[in-house]
Symmetry: C2
Subunit: 280 residues, 2 copies
């Protein structure tokens, strides 16, 4: 029976460390500031932004939400971001996606100063991560690596299967695992032999959003199982795992909710504290 | 018995296409210019640079070699590169690596204007490639993709095994294969189950430099086998494949020499022509 990788508790404990770092920065006269850019009235986006805002406050950081109407022009939005780049009181900038369709999302993300890009979405930061240079990496993958390391496993040489190839989770977590010398397998919607790949994995990270995609019967005994799935079924949040059967095979498993989710916001805080430290 | 993927012939034919594109640019009054920066007297570097120079000339492009003494300071070298960035007569810039140890290679590569980075080594271009944005990708991986496509295979959903995780070959070719929807497996020196991975591959790309690393007995029938190995043994250039046994299993195989090698330089030309087209 798998041990639970309790993201809520692990995040809570790591936030204490970050809170301490914020205190030390405050003693030097600087309060880390995260400024989140929100465009429009999307309910999910608003609730993510509010969760980040509260998390910042909980560890003593400054958090500012810049809320713009959905009809803001691309030009005006880029001008706002450039102003934030110039503002020495702002250490981290985060643009909540998705953006309205009249705005080029890539262009907006590329306009953020890479040294303030706490989401790790700027091409320069992505490139550096792929070169193995220590830089801002996306927050969910960083949170996943933290959870995997909590198990004490030596990642080098282990077979790691990542299911899903998004730019926010799948691809960067595959890269972080490769940087730690895992043998990496990347599966996605076109993959034809998922069951066989599952049977070879020492670590499986599923980031698809398809409930029941991974069930225990295909897994190796002792696998470390990280569920990044996030689907609402009958009003309940569920992941990609058939939880009971995966639990029977895995050595460690993340629950949904309370697994990867709390780690993501924690790494927004982590990256902002880091940005602040590097800027002063 | 495998068909030979004859890189020499395929490169020759593709260079005719490029030659035509150069003619068209010349008719518009612009000759694509590749400027190669060479530091010091390393024999292998000099011979690579000369090969690129000759290849440029063979399709009517301008090629300039900027040769600096091994003791040039980092500051002076960066100044030279910035001057090339500003020079509208230079369309592609290529810094031959390795550089002397007193020069920070990453810093030099990051100083090249991304729009002139025909090697595809700038973090911004690496990042864009990972985002699936069409940009300059490294030349050997582009040449490998060209060879694979020559076979007519539909890459989507195929199992592609990349052995080696360098930033110049292994990692970018894995990404290009993923961008074409292959299921990608990346093996390297820490991998413990190479034989089992070989047995699953529909496409295998080996970029290690270890003669005999891949032998036919572990391979699936019909595999497409790309050998990027490049080792001199008893005065002869050999790849990573045990050529005879791999030939017996593969549907297509690249020879060494005359497989991937000629494609690499061809894609230096390709990227420079592209840079020129995008700059005018």
């Amino acid at each position: 029976m798998a041990k639970l990788l309790n993201g809520k508790n692990i995040a809570k404990s790591y936030r204490e460390t970050l809170k301490q770092q914020v205190s030390e920065l405050k003693e030097k006269g600087v309060t880390p500031n995260l400024t989140v850019v929100l465009v429009g009235e999307d309910g999910a986006s608003k609730s993510y932004v509010n969760a980040k805002h509260k998390a910042c406050q909980s560890i003593g950081m400054d958090s500012v939400i810049k809320h713009f109407d959905a009809d803001i022009t691309e030009e005006a939005l880029l001008k706002e971001i450039k102003a934030l780049n110039e503002d020495t009181g702002v250490h981290g900038i985060l643009v909540q996606v998705p953006l309205p369709s009249h705005i080029d999302e890539h262009l907006v993300l590329e306009t953020i100063d890479p040294s303030k890009d706490v989401d790790g979405f700027h091409p320069e930061n992505i490139g550096k991560m792929h070169l193995g240079i220590d830089t801002f990496a996306p927050c969910t993958p960083l949170g996943i690596m933290h959870l995997i390391k909590e198990t004490g496993i030596d990642i080098a040489g282990k077979n790691a299967l990542v299911i899903g190839r998004s730019h926010i989770v799948g691809q960067p977590v595959a890269q972080l695992l490769l940087n730690e010398s895992a043998t990496v397998m990347i599966a996605h919607s076109k993959t034809q032999n998922l069951e066989s790949l599952l049977g070879q994995a020492d670590i499986v990270v599923s980031a698809v959003g398809q409930p029941g995609l991974v069930s225990g019967e295909h897994l190796k005994d002792g696998v470390i199982a990280i569920d990044v799935g996030n689907t609402v079924v009958d009003g309940k949040l569920v992941g990609d795992f058939d939880f009971d059967s995966v639990s029977n095979k895995a050595s460690y498993i993340t629950p949904v909710p309370g697994g990867v989710g709390p780690m993501t916001i924690t790494y927004v805080l982590n990256n902002t504290v880091r940005a602040c430290r590097e800027q002063i």
